[in-house]
């Protein structure tokens, strides 16, 4: 049975811009403290709100880091928050964990909240690992007997047994992070808020962290989770919120949300159409009419994942008769590495084929299980009469989503420029 553990309505938070944010003089501050209560009372008698009194000419001197946010999070939910940097995700966690206060709205939280906005908050370099476990645990809200009880577990998780009595300033950054995460991972609060801290340590440790998060979830605790690791977020969370410019854009299942978010955040270009051959990109002989990339077997959400077979199409006008035309395409990944170059393999002449004027379509199929995940850019090339080369770069931009299939529970980026599914078998030799 689930019931709401966090209910928030109308949460807003503004930050003042400029150097003199919300500027008041020292004298004002002292006077406000001493006479503020009387003034408030006076204002209340006159029926004004504080905001009315404060609202002045400078209404554009601030930005809303969070605006009218409503949330309802149920017991046992693992909720992911996605959005660009500065979208307001961290601000929301800061309000819910009471680090800062909202300017409007109200939230009711049932249960102790443990927040982990940064790994190693409050670690003191001069103290030993053991001492820091206690200090950090206490800062995060653990009680002494809890820390004592779980101490061995924490040290074991962080894999720093040998160095536990060494000052942490002598630790490698990896060890430091591991110990810090280990403390936080053993917080016993009913609600856990985690901000982008999975990116610590080596791959083995990340794996351990994600596993730990899964355990936390199975314990029936509630987790709020901000991460840019969309794959981890998709596989760990059962619900997600997409936040942009301080507002909740969408709420729903993580898979759907992630693909909507990606569509919107990168200027993806999966189709382009030019109506007028006079202004369309191209040269004297050839002009582009339409380019597109789509799943070869369209389904309802048209998601492109590493497993999806793709079809790329180029429609173009040929404006002169009997010129040799050789169209081809180049595919680049996010890092600008050229993954492949393709052209019609049946072509007999290196200059291409002589074509009468008209409209043509090139259709190229890219099989599934070939491309790796990430952004891909398509460049269209054409060679006219074996000499005039013309390239239209980035005519198509598409994102290949990762899947959690065939990864054995591992969530980091898969290495390599391509990701073919190669035949593999094992023979028992002896």
């Amino acid at each position: 049975m689930s019931h709401p553990v966090i209910q928030a309505s109308d949460l807003s938070k503004r930050y003042w811009l400029g150097e003199h944010q919300n500027y008041v003089t020292l004298r004002d501050a002292i006077a406000n403290t001493l006479f503020g209560p009387a003034r408030n009372l006076n204002r209340r008698i006159r029926g004004e709100s504080r905001d009315q009194a404060r609202r002045g000419a400078h209404s554009d001197d601030f930005i809303w880091a969070l605006k009218d946010v409503d949330l309802e999070i149920n017991h046992g939910d693992i909720v992911g928050f996605i959005g660009r940097n500065g979208a307001g995700k961290t601000t929301l966690l800061k309000i819910l964990s009471r680090i800062t206060t909202p300017d409007t709205g109200r939230a009711v939280i049932h249960g102790r909240v443990g927040s982990l906005l940064e790994v190693g908050t409050g670690f003191h370099p001069e103290l030993t690992g053991r001492e820091n476990v206690y200090l950090n645990g206490a800062i995060l809200g653990m009680r002494r007997h809890e820390i004592k009880r779980r101490f061995d577990e924490i040290v074991d998780f962080g894999a720093v047994e040998r160095f536990i009595d060494t000052p942490v300033k002598r630790y490698s950054s990896g060890m430091y992070m591991r110990l810090a995460f280990a403390v936080a991972a053993h917080l016993d609060t009913e609600i856990l808020m985690i901000d982008e801290v999975l990116a610590v340590g080596d791959i083995a440790f990340q794996q351990k962290c994600l596993g730990k998060m899964g355990d936390v979830a199975r314990d029936g605790r509630t987790v709020l989770f901000v991460s840019h690791n969309l794959l981890a977020l998709q596989s760990l969370c059962n619900r997600a919120y997409w936040i942009d410019q301080g507002r909740i854009i969408e709420e729903g299942s993580p898979g759907k949300l992630v693909s909507n978010y990606l569509q919107a955040s990168y200027s993806l270009q999966t189709e382009q159409i030019w109506d007028d051959p006079e202004t369309a990109p191209g040269n004297d002989v050839i002009r582009l009419k339409r380019v597109s990339v789509r799943p070869t077997h369209p389904d309802e959400d048209d998601q492109i994942t590493v497993r999806t077979p793709l079809t790329i199409e180029f429609d173009y006008w040929v404006r002169e008769d009997d010129v040799y035309v050789k169209p081809s395409l180049n595919l680049y990944n996010n890092q600008g590495i050229q993954i492949l170059s393709a052209m019609d393999p049946e072509l007999q002449d290196w200059r291409g084929t002589p074509m009468p004027a008209g409209t043509y379509r090139e259709i190229c199929r890219i099989p599934g299980d070939l491309l790796n995940s990430g952004m891909h850019r398509v460049e269209f090339c054409t060679l006219v009469n074996g000499q005039d080369e013309w390239r239209a770069n980035d005519v198509l931009t598409f994102d290949v989503l990762d899947t959690s299939d065939f990864r054995a529970g591992w969530y980091d980026d898969w290495e390599g420029v391509i990701r073919p599914m190669l035949p593999w078998r094992r023979e028992h030799l002896a």
Binding site: S97, V108, G111, H124, R143
Partner: protein
């Protein structure tokens, strides 16, 4: 509306899979408007954190120093020597029937405690801004920890006073039982000042520049280097506006068998300390909610 925060003080951990509205604490988060009451319950709930802060401060304080805890003695002791030479010997400031070094050192012990606590605690929030912007706890724990942590150095310095008294053959009177009260008064004065300055420092870094100056002036407004008897009788109640004057006089009374500070002066001091504490808590609670945004 004011915010009501209820943090469970019970150490009982309800089974995580069976939370019921009764067994888990409920927190209400609302804008910080108007008059903020002190959340004493919350401070109590986090009392272990105070212990850890003090413990960490003490552990760290003399790490990687050669002389270590000797510094707790060196500071007041050398000040005493300087005072003895310049005020006692050269300026000929009277010290009653006491040798000037003991006279000065007995005052320097509480004074050094007070001065150190004020200068450390007013910086403590700014210094730990990384923690303040990343995790919630009652912020007041940080200046509190400085006040409590300073007591260790104070105790070390006080034990040297015992040695000094034995050397000069001075025995404390029965008034020595008042010592804990005097120490409490010094702590509470320091707390009041620390609340104000640490919170102000978050927003106005001017405080950093004010503090050395403030402490210097305050030292001369306190009968550390000279006896209160130099202050005209009719000004004494006014002198009580400085609670440290009563503390210092009280130390000489309790330990060195000097005349007791006047009741009038102490009365004024007590009122001042209470006002300082109350206004400090008020200002701190108000300012606390925006620390993470302005620090």
């Amino acid at each position: 509306m004011t915010a009501r925060d209820h943090i469970g003080t019970s150490s009982l951990n309800p089974p995580a899979d069976l939370p019921s509205p009764e067994s888990v604490p409920t927190t209400v988060i609302e804008p910080a408007n108007g008059w903020i009451p002190f959340k004493l319950g919350e401070i109590w709930a986090y009392r272990e954190l105070l212990y850890f802060f003090v413990w960490a401060n003490v552990k760290v304080q003399y790490k990687q120093t050669v002389l270590g805890a000797l510094w707790a003695i060196i500071q007041p002791f050398f000040t005493m020597i300087v005072f003895s030479i310049f005020f006692g010997r050269l300026a000929g400031i009277p010290s009653g029937d006491l040798p000037y070094p003991v006279f000065a050192y007995a005052a320097l012990v509480p004074w050094t405690y007070f001065a150190n606590v004020v200068s450390i605690s007013s910086n403590v929030l700014v210094q730990h801004q990384g923690v303040i912007t990343k995790v919630f706890f009652p912020r007041v724990m940080m200046p509190f920890a400085s006040v409590v942590g300073g007591l260790l150095d104070f105790t070390i310095a006080l034990s040297v006073l015992g040695v000094l008294m034995a050397y000069y053959g001075i025995a404390p009177s029965a008034a020595v039982i008042a010592l804990p009260l005097l120490i409490a008064m010094a702590s509470l004065t320091a707390t009041g000042v620390a609340l104000w300055l640490s919170a102000l420092n978050v927003r106005y870094r001017d405080v950093r520049f004010i503090i050395p100056f403030l402490i210097q002036v305050w030292l001369f407004a306190t009968p550390v280097a000279y006896p209160t008897s130099l202050v005209p009788e009719r000004w004494r109640p006014l002198y009580g506006l400085n609670p440290m004057a009563g503390v210092v006089d009280g130390f000489r009374w309790a330990l060195l068998d000097q005349p007791a500070p006047s009741i009038g002066m102490l009365g004024v001091s007590v009122v001042v300390v209470l006002l300082l504490l109350f206004s400090g808590m008020t200002y701190f609670s108000r300012a606390e909610r925006t620390f993470a945004d302005v620090v």
